[in-house]
């Protein structure tokens, strides 16, 4: 039977997954610290009716092989590592990372998660936590009476207490980076977990030469979704879906004609 039917079906499935991914990117275009993903496709195996370079006779080889491709499949969804725009919020506990580092946060199950969403608040004890209540690691405690909080580009947190003129250092925010951040596991809530593909985190102080990046106080990193690109990709996905469905129709009509031969 025609491979064309299955081949075109593989193309339609792939474009469906592509559209799912575009939908997720667009849905998160306002999520601070969200990093978009891109689907990568790869071609499937080939049916080699004649191998290229096969011997035609003892002296000669065929000019071109006969290879029939069997379709496509989505290979992976890669995290796009571009920097999102930084927007000024004026909130002293909003931090943005300019560079490739991640904040470390303690998840309820005791694991350390990684995020680029730097919107923190003090909890009842004064510890900096995310909007979900996960504590920033290493823990930084802001005294409740603090009047002024300053975070340097290297992550040094200092506060001014009432009656004191000298700022007092209360901790240093450390950042983590990965050999292959594209291989991180997204678990939702802007949190990533390391995998064997991403490698183990390398923890360091912001602003160093490692490429962790610097911390900007009073800023938030917007999602790096490029809405125009996503719309262009959406049109391409839709048209590609359409052309694959057109192949199925053509194959169906050809099969129909073949069936009519036997009348």
């Amino acid at each position: 039977m025609f491979h064309a039917l299955d081949t075109a079906a593989s193309g339609m499935t792939a474009q469906q997954i592509n559209l799912d991914n575009i939908a997720n990117n667009l849905a998160n275009s306002s999520t601070a610290g969200f990093q978009s993903r891109r689907v990568q496709f790869s071609d499937l195996l080939y049916q080699n009716d004649i191998m290229p370079g096969a011997a035609a006779t003892q002296q000669t080889t065929v000019a071109s092989g006969l290879q029939i491709g069997l379709g496509t499949r989505p290979g992976n969804t890669e995290i796009v590592q571009t920097q999102g725009d930084l927007s000024s919020t004026g909130n002293p506990l909003d931090f943005a990372i300019q560079g490739s580092g991640f904040f470390q946060i303690l998840l309820p199950n005791g694991q350390v998660g990684y995020t680029r969403s730097g919107s923190f608040q003090p909890d009842a004890q004064g510890n900096l936590v995310t909007a979900n209540g996960d504590q920033l690691q290493p823990a930084i405690t802001i005294p409740t009476s603090a009047t002024n909080i300053t975070v340097g580009s290297d992550g040094t947190v200092s506060v001014t207490l009432p009656g004191q003129t000298q700022a007092q250092q209360v901790g240093v925010i450390q950042l983590a980076m990965f050999a292959n951040p594209g291989g991180l596991n997204s678990i939702g809530n802007n949190i990533y977990l390391p995998t064997t593909a991403s490698g183990d985190p390398v923890v360091g102080t912001a602003g160093g030469s490692q490429g962790l990046g610097t911390i900007q106080q009073g800023m938030l990193e917007q999602s790096n979704v490029n809405v125009v690109d996503e719309f262009v990709n959406m049109i391409l996905a839709q048209r590609s879906y359409e052309s694959n469905s057109r192949v199925i129709k053509a194959a169906d009509e050809m099969l129909q004609q073949l069936n009519q031969l036997a009348q």
Binding site: F2, N18, F41, S42, A63, V247, A250, L261
Partner: protein, 245 residues
Amino acid sequence: MDSGYYSLATALNSRTQELDTIANNLANASTVGYRAQENVFGSILATAGNTNGSALSQAVNTYGILSGTTLDLSQGALQKTGNNLDVAIEGSGYFVVQTANGPMYTRNGSFQISAHGQLVTSAGDAVMGEDGAIAMPPGVVSISSDGTLSSGGAVVGKLHIVEFAPNTQLTSMGGSYYSAPAASVQKATQSTVQQGMLESSNVNSITSMVDLVTAQRTAEMMQRALNMFNSEIDKTATQDLPKVG
């Protein structure tokens, strides 16, 4: 039996194979670094070896078949991605990838750094530099147009980019990988690389759609001609002729 019947059946068969190739091209219209397949039709003399055949006999016994597929090696459009580890080749070169099945060649420059700090393809196979696999220390990666890689400002290697001798037949291996005879591999002289870009598939959807319509309509012609053999000629011979007289 009328040889035209077999000739048409062969041609109809080759059109269904043509449809398979078109379907594969369209299915891979979004595959980075994919090279479109082109159909090569040829004729085959069914009575080969029979040197006594008349010119007429040879003419009616020449069957059209799909004799091969070649790759369209034209440049695909470059698409900006902004990822530091995405590289596109401008020119006819290929990246060299070390796989479990030996060296393979690819135009898909969507690279990553493995957990062991090696530059790898998205399938996890090591990308070859001119001195073997490339180790990438952590840091901001920049890639110059001749393929020199630097990480955090220090040069760490140079991408091995190869071109092939003219008329080399590449074998599609799937996963955007191609293999080629070792003897045809040459050092790239006319290729440059672009960081932050990927080369889209070079499938032309307009020509693919035209091919699709053509394949469908020619198949329809074959089917009509087969019907004529079936209904007009054979029916006359088997049903109408006995009634004469």
